[in-house]
């Protein structure tokens, strides 16, 4: 089974480059794969059908660019269309300027609203606002305590009203913001099913009571085909301005994000990428497009590396990743940085094709030390040109590192795999915009 669309299309369309125009038959085979890839990523069936029709129309008769294979040509078209569908660039929160500004969060149970509310408070505070969190989930046990505790962690005040009338609490919360000079209110609401009329009416009533500048729907990235049912119902009864997609730190392809965008036309504004309260990022549609297609996310990989490396090192790594020059020395340096970056497994998951690595590629601490010793037992020449490492050299290296020849073979194999992966990354980046590193900085202005 092919993990990413690029490989699939290569397999069904052949690897020859520059083959004139895409034939009807070529495109048919390709569209079956596109459909399959999107459905496996949980893109809604209706959205998939429309999308495939559009890509088919654009593809038939298309000239294949000289440098591309027919498969890559289709990937290019798919990516362009997918990015267009996701919306371009970042979408920001829009405040009317009225004080206090109000943001209201809605969504299904367990989607991550309360955590998202706290993360949003954190983000807005970093942008110079003074948020107040308002706890309107009067149903779920300890939901209010949860928000209060998160607020305490952040040093952001939390308003918890009296009684069980969520609408009244929301209204009083906004009043409280006025009297305590907070300029932004974030209203956390209870999770609710989109078919629960009473609860949907409650959400609509909260909206009417506090006139939010922005209503955001919080959606779990792992949601399947049902995402559009929920989103469409929320759009209709409560209406919302944008979406926060949560739990994107996992391995969900996140097709639901695309479907929701396609079906409701609302932009995805933020991505939740961890349980920590700073793990909320502006949403990048083009990265999401690649993720949905299983094409990895080299940009995120590089940014993650950047947190651990200093900038010059990171730029260096980026250049190497892009140029495809990657030696055993780099491999070693990278392994040594891995500890700082979190588990290697997490990082590998972001590399296209890495999910196909053998399980033993999940290096444990012991193996890390072993690998270090093995590479250090190599000569400069060997490190630069591993192909010269023959049997005799392997034995010498093994003796030097105090390991078995088998271990040396393993390291060389892993290195070769990494190198291959990087080549793939590089190919999939070709033609894409070259993106320089900026400083991590705050997401601008919202």
């Amino acid at each position: 089974m092919f993990e990413n669309l690029s490989e699939r299309l290569q397999a069904v369309m052949g690897k020859l480059t520059g083959r004139g125009v895409l034939s009807e038959a070529d495109v048919d085979a390709a569209m079956r794969e596109v459909r399959m890839a999107l459905l496996e990523a949980d893109v809604n069936l209706g959205t998939v059908k429309e999308f495939v029709a559009r890509v088919r129309e654009r593809s038939v008769g298309q000239d294949v660019m000289k440098s591309l294979t027919p498969g890559q040509m289709v990937v290019k078209i798919v990516l362009e269309e997918l990015t267009a569908l996701m919306g371009r660039g970042e979408s920001r929160l829009v405040f009317s300027g009225r004080i206090p500004g109000v943001v209201m969060l809605v969504g299904l149970q367990g989607s991550g609203k309360t955590t998202a509310a706290a993360k949003l408070a954190n983000l807005l505070r970093k942008q110079g606002r003074s948020p107040l969190l308002v706890a309107c989930d009067v149903y779920r046990p300890a939901a209010i305590d949860q928000l209060e505790s998160l607020g305490k962690q952040l040093g952001v005040p939390v308003y918890r009203g009296e009684g069980t009338d969520a609408v009244a609490i929301a209204r009083a919360g906004v009043q409280h913001a006025v009297s305590t000079m907070r300029d932004t209110v974030i209203v956390d609401t209870a999770g609710r099913l989109h078919i629960d009329e009473e609860m949907m009416a409650e959400a609509a009533a909260i909206r009417t009571a506090v006139h939010p500048d922005q209503v955001l729907m919080v959606i779990d990235a792992m949601t399947g085909q049902d995402a559009v049912n929920a989103a469409a119902a929320f759009a209709q009864t409560v209406d919302f301005d944008g979406v926060i997609v949560t739990k994107l730190d996992g391995d969900a392809r996140g097709g639901a994000a695309l479907s929701v965008r396609a079906v409701t036309g609302k932009p995805i504004m933020f991505a939740g990428v961890g349980e920590k309260l700073d793990a909320l990022e502006p949403f990048h549609p083009e990265r999401m497009a690649k993720r949905i297609l299983g094409m990895g996310d080299v940009v995120t990989l590089i940014e993650k590396a950047q947190d651990a490396f200093d900038t010059s090192q990171a730029t260096d790594l980026e250049d190497r990743l892009r140029s495809g020059v990657f030696t055993l020395d780099d491999f070693l340096a990278q392994l040594q940085q891995v500890k700082k970056m979190g588990s290697l497994g997490d990082i590998l998951k972001m590399i296209p094709g890495a999910n196909k690595l053998p399980k033993d590629a999940e290096i444990d601490e012991g193996a890390l030390a072993r690998t270090e010793a093995i590479i250090q037992s190599m000569t400069r020449k060997e490190r630069a040109k591993p192909s010269i490492i023959n049997g005799a050299r392997r034995e010498r290296i093994a003796a030097g590192a105090g390991v078995r020849v088998f271990d040396v073979n393993q390291v060389l194999k892993q290195f070769a795999q990494t190198q291959k992966l990087l080549k793939q990354v590089q190919t999939s980046q070709k033609g894409g915009k070259r993106r320089r590193f900026g400083m991590p900085g705050l997401p601008g202005g919202l």
């Binding site: 459909r35 399959m36 459905l39 496996e40 990523a41 949980d42 069936l45 299904l108 149970q109 367990g110 989607s111 991550g112 009067v138 149903y139 779920r140 046990p141 300890a142 939901a143 305590d145 949860q146 928000l147 209060e148 505790s149 998160l150 962690q153 069980t164 099913l193 989109h194 078919i195 629960d196 009329e197 009473e198 609860m199 779990d220 990235a221 792992m222 949601t223 399947g224 085909q225 049902d226 995402a227 049912n229 929920a230 739990k247 730190d249 996992g250 391995d251 969900a252 392809r253 097709g255 639901a256 349980e275 588990s343 497994g345 997490d346 998951k349 999940e362």
Partner: protein, 305 residues
């Protein structure tokens, strides 16, 4: 205290639910013909139930063969046959950890699937059956998780063992099992923190928690994955990873009171052979039901009530 939350699941709910379910019955409304359009719509219905494109293709392929071979007379017959096949796939042999003698059950899953709520419901259920239940609050990580479970313990009228926020979850398990043996409990339910199956560290933590449970428990230790019915294809990856790390005995499938069908459990059953033993159908203490493969399958093919 909040207004009785379960009161909210009133008539309005079932009314809308009926309307939304209607679209799946399109398969029958179009008449008895088994033509190309029928097959396409059938495939669509399965995909929309999150069965997954691979399993769907295979199921429909098999069904087409059977329909031709056995000359199934009409659409209704084909649908019944399909429902039977799906039910057969979903009906995985295996012990029900909540109904096969004394046990310590570790409740695990990704964030927000309904673990804590399910622990509350399961405890109430077991108490109603006359069992002695103790629950352990091993989610020491998420804010107010301990307080949340405490409320459920009160509702179910069972003792809960806790430590402070941030405490070692293994230590909570240790305390819980000590308390359980002192009280002569025959069902111990342990709520754990939600975690993504991709987080190596957090999965390792859970393995440790399980080890403590196995070491300290007087009863067999069972591990149950709580899965949200709205989960798409990622559900299979979740089940795979939790199973790989812990060895899963069963699944509780929650949030079936919405419009999602939870079809991903078919893929999980096929690949991993893990049975679904309970379903969650609401936020109330009583909103837990045994899993019925036939009902499940009927809902997936749109022949539910």
């Amino acid at each position: 205290m909040a207004t009785p939350w379960y009161k909210r699941l009133g008539d309005g709910l079932s009314r809308t639910r009926g309307a939304l379910q209607g679209h799946l019955n399109v398969l029958l409304r179009r008449g008895p013909d088994v033509d190309a359009v029928f097959w396409e719509e059938l495939e669509d219905a399965l995909i929309q139930a999150d069965i997954g494109v691979v399993a769907t293709t295979e199921l429909v392929g098999r069904l087409r063969d059977a329909a031709a071979r056995e000359a199934l007379p009409d659409a209704a017959a084909v649908l019944d046959r399909l429902a039977a096949e799906i039910a057969a796939e979903a009906r995985v042999p295996g012990d029900d950890p909540f109904a096969s003698g004394p046990a310590t059950v570790l409740v695990v899953g990704v964030n927000g699937t309904g673990k804590t709520t399910s622990v509350g419901k399961l405890a109430a259920n077991a108490v109603a059956e006359g069992r002695r239940v103790v629950i352990g609050s091993a989610d020491t990580f998420r804010a107010a998780a301990i307080e949340q479970l405490r409320v459920w313990a009160e509702r179910a009228a069972v003792p809960v063992v806790e430590r402070a926020h941030g405490a070692d979850p293994g230590a909570v398990v240790y305390d819980t099992l000590a308390e359980a043996s002192e009280r002569g409990a025959d069902l111990v339910l342990i709520d754990t923190a939600g975690r993504l199956h991709t987080s190596t560290d957090l999965m390792a933590e859970l393995v440790k928690v399980q080890r403590v449970a196995r070491r300290e428990s007087a009863h067999p230790v069972r591990t149950v994955l709580v899965m949200d019915a709205t989960t798409g294809q990622n559900g299979l990856l979740q089940a795979r990873e939790f199973d790989r790390a812990l060895g899963l005995d069963a699944i509780v499938l929650t949030k079936l009171d919405g419009t999602a069908k939870g079809g991903i459990v078919v893929a999980v059953a096929r690949e991993l052979g893990i049975p679904v033993v309970r379903i969650g159908v609401g936020e109330g203490l009583e909103d837990l039901a045994p899993f019925d493969a036939d009902d499940f399958a009927a809902a997936v093919v749109g022949r539910g009530d």
